[in-house]
């Protein structure tokens, strides 16, 4: 019984890791006032870049590095669209998710003549254990930076009172650029945790909605890094429990409806957002464009 419990705990940590990276990546952008619906795409691009580089160089660490760069590249496009060209942040985010979902199989076909997946990675090319604690280190870093550094203060003001930040002589869009790009790197590592850790290659739709689940965790955690990461742990537990209950039957012979566990994270997110489970307030300037003439 004990060993089953440990297995469940381990599966929870494994399932939570990509979500923690994703939710931190989302937090980076959203705390600075930039909506990040592109998390799904950032995970996919990171996962793809990581798998390709790990396979080519036979190095898990280079693969993980490339995962971050893959996320960074897509985040740069996102920044260009929403910060420079003032594209609607929701449309641009959804568009980038679609782009990543389409471009990764096309590139996969170009490189490996296979639309479904990249070649399998050997054990030495995989990044199995490090992401499991790496993500919690990042949570600690995020907490520390947000609370105790000047940067963290600017970051928060870009999302709460951009005009005040501007008046203090700090460029709002510069802070937001750094936040979006950093978030891209972190979410890209989440993708690497998927393709190098949870799986042994990149396959189509590897993220499977985890970007949106990471977003749900961010809201569940009320836009704060530590509670959001704990929400990821809860969602990881749901995923692990669901895998174990698949096909299990109650005493009366009825199968356990795992679908209800599956939808639980989304239901609690709606409840939290509606204020039925404690008040949740997004960053005040979330989704607005900053310009000297006024916030709109």
């Amino acid at each position: 019984m004990l060993s089953a419990g440990w297995q469940l705990a381990a599966a929870t940590l494994r399932g939570a890791a990509p979500l923690v990276y994703g939710t931190l990546g989302g937090w980076c952008a959203e705390r600075a006032g930039v909506v990040n619906l592109a998390l799904e795409g950032l995970l996919l691009s990171g996962a793809f870049a990581a798998a390709v580089v790990a396979h080519t160089t036979h190095s898990a660490w280079l693969g993980a590095l490339a995962g971050g760069l893959g996320g960074l590249a897509l985040a740069a496009v996102y920044g260009l669209l929403v910060l420079r060209w003032r594209a609607n942040q929701i449309v641009a985010g959804m568009g980038l998710n679609l782009l990543a979902a389409g471009l990764t199989p096309v590139l996969c076909k170009m490189l490996y003549d296979d639309t479904g997946r990249t070649p399998s990675l050997t054990l030495a090319e995989r990044w199995q254990v490090a992401p499991l604690y790496g993500c919690w280190l990042l949570v600690a870093v995020a907490w520390f930076v947000a609370r105790y550094t000047r940067w963290g203060l600017w970051h928060g003001f870009a999302g709460e009172q951009p005009a005040a930040l501007d008046a203090a002589g700090v460029g709002v869009n510069r802070v937001r650029w750094v936040a979006v790009l950093t978030g891209g790197v972190v979410a890209g590592w989440g993708g690497a945790a998927l393709s190098l850790g949870a799986s042994s290659c990149f396959s189509r739709d590897l993220a499977a909605g985890r970007g949106y689940m990471a977003l749900a965790a961010l809201i569940f955690g009320r836009w704060r890094p530590v509670p959001a990461a704990l929400a990821c742990l809860l969602f990881g537990f749901c995923e692990a429990a669901q895998d174990r209950l698949q096909g299990v039957r109650f005493g009366s012979g009825e199968p356990v409806p795992v679908q209800f566990i599956q939808i639980l994270p989304y239901v609690v997110t709606i409840l939290v957002l509606a204020g039925w489970a404690g008040a949740a307030r997004p960053p005040r300037a979330l989704g607005t464009v900053f310009s000297r003439e006024g916030n709109h």
Binding site: W85, A87, L98, G102, M110, L215, Q259, V267, P282
Partner: protein, 343 residues
């Protein structure tokens, strides 16, 4: 002027960028373009599939557009159409003996009602609790998928199939495809989509409730000052958006498969956002944009066979690039700045 031409330029830019991708893949872009065009419009069957892909996009595009005109963002058409299709399939599976036209009416009404009910949820949450509809609709998409999976697996499962799907609807429910399209599933769903588009346009522009909806979307303080009940209009707009998305059940369930299959939708809900955006939330524009996206979807299916280096997923790349090109407003202002200044 620039406003009206911008979607056309954006489509051109999106297609051009997509063709750059094919050139990088080592494929002649002109050949790819020819394959796309021939696949989408070259045969009666191909044209039929293009229209069959376009029809659900008209409904989801209208769904997004109606919410948008009220100042609301409906990212939830995917969940609303899931509920609509499930409801239509359930009616047809539970009462298989009913005959047309009563069966059509019953299944269609169930689809619209289920879509409206699912759509009203984010409207109510926004009106009563003030929680933003974007996150709520995304979450409701996943919840709808989970519930539909449950119903498909445990309540209405088709025992004759290995794949998860509901029991087929009775024969009286099916809308026969038109023979002219040589077997492509195009039938009365298509004129229904066009008719609904015209009706929605008329309703938005000519009715009092349509005016209230637009007024709220364009200037909320003024609308409130004029005595418009913002909460009521938001719930109405979202319910209507959900009902429109639910109508996807007509071409997909009654006109094609005759049952509900989880994940049957080729991202129709998300692509509806792009269709509405590209069509500038006007019915005529939405019909044109849906046709373009349907053509890309169908044309790209031939890429697997007729090219060596690119695949059907290129359709997603084209569609995404078009969305992003339309959305990048600031970039277009730079392009048009010189011409806009004298005005």
């Amino acid at each position: 002027m620039t406003n009206r031409l911008q979607p056309i330029f954006a489509v051109a830019v999106g297609l051009a960028l997509g063709l750059v991708v094919t050139a990088l893949a080592g494929e002649n872009p002109l050949h790819v373009l020819a394959v796309l065009a021939r696949g989408a419009f070259g045969t009666r069957y191909g044209l039929g599939l293009t229209l069959a892909y376009a029809t659900p996009l008209v409904f989801t595009g209208l769904s997004v557009a109606v919410a948008f005109r009220a100042g609301l963002f409906n990212v939830g058409a995917e969940g609303q159409l899931t509920m609509g299709a499930l409801a239509a399939a359930a009616v047809g599976a539970v009462w298989p003996g009913w005959g047309a036209p009563g069966a059509w009416l019953a299944a269609g009404t169930a689809a619209v009602a289920a879509g409206m009910a699912w759509g009203a949820v984010p409207g109510v949450l926004r009106a009563w609790r003030g929680s933003h509809e974007v996150i709520n609709t995304i979450m409701l998409n996943f919840i709808a998928a989970g519930l539909a999976n449950y119903v498909t697996m445990y309540v209405l499962r088709n025992p004759a199939s290995q794949n998860p799907e509901t029991r087929p609807v009775g024969p009286g429910y099916m809308l026969a495809p038109w023979a002219w399209f040589a077997g492509a599933p195009v039938g009365w769903g298509l004129p229904l989509a066009i008719g609904v588009a015209v009706a929605v346009g008329w309703w938005l522009e000519r009715s009092v409730t349509g005016l209230e909806l637009r007024a709220l979307g364009e200037n909320e303080p003024a609308a409130r000052a004029a005595g418009i009940n913002a909460g009521r209009v938001r719930v109405l707009a979202f319910a209507l958006a959900g009902g429109l998305a639910g109508l996807v059940a007509v071409p997909e369930v009654l006109g094609n498969t005759g049952r509900f299959r989880p994940a049957f939708s080729a991202q129709y809900g998300f692509l509806g956002i792009a269709v509405a955006l590209l069509g500038r939330n006007r019915p005529g524009g939405i019909l044109a944009a849906a046709l373009l996206f349907g053509a890309l979807q169908k044309g790209a299916t031939d890429l697997d066979m007729e090219t060596d280096h690119v695949t059907r997923e290129l359709a997603l790349v084209f569609q995404a690039l078009i969305i992003l090109a339309v959305a990048a407003e600031g970039a277009w202002e730079m392009v048009f700045r010189r011409r806009a200044r004298p005005c």
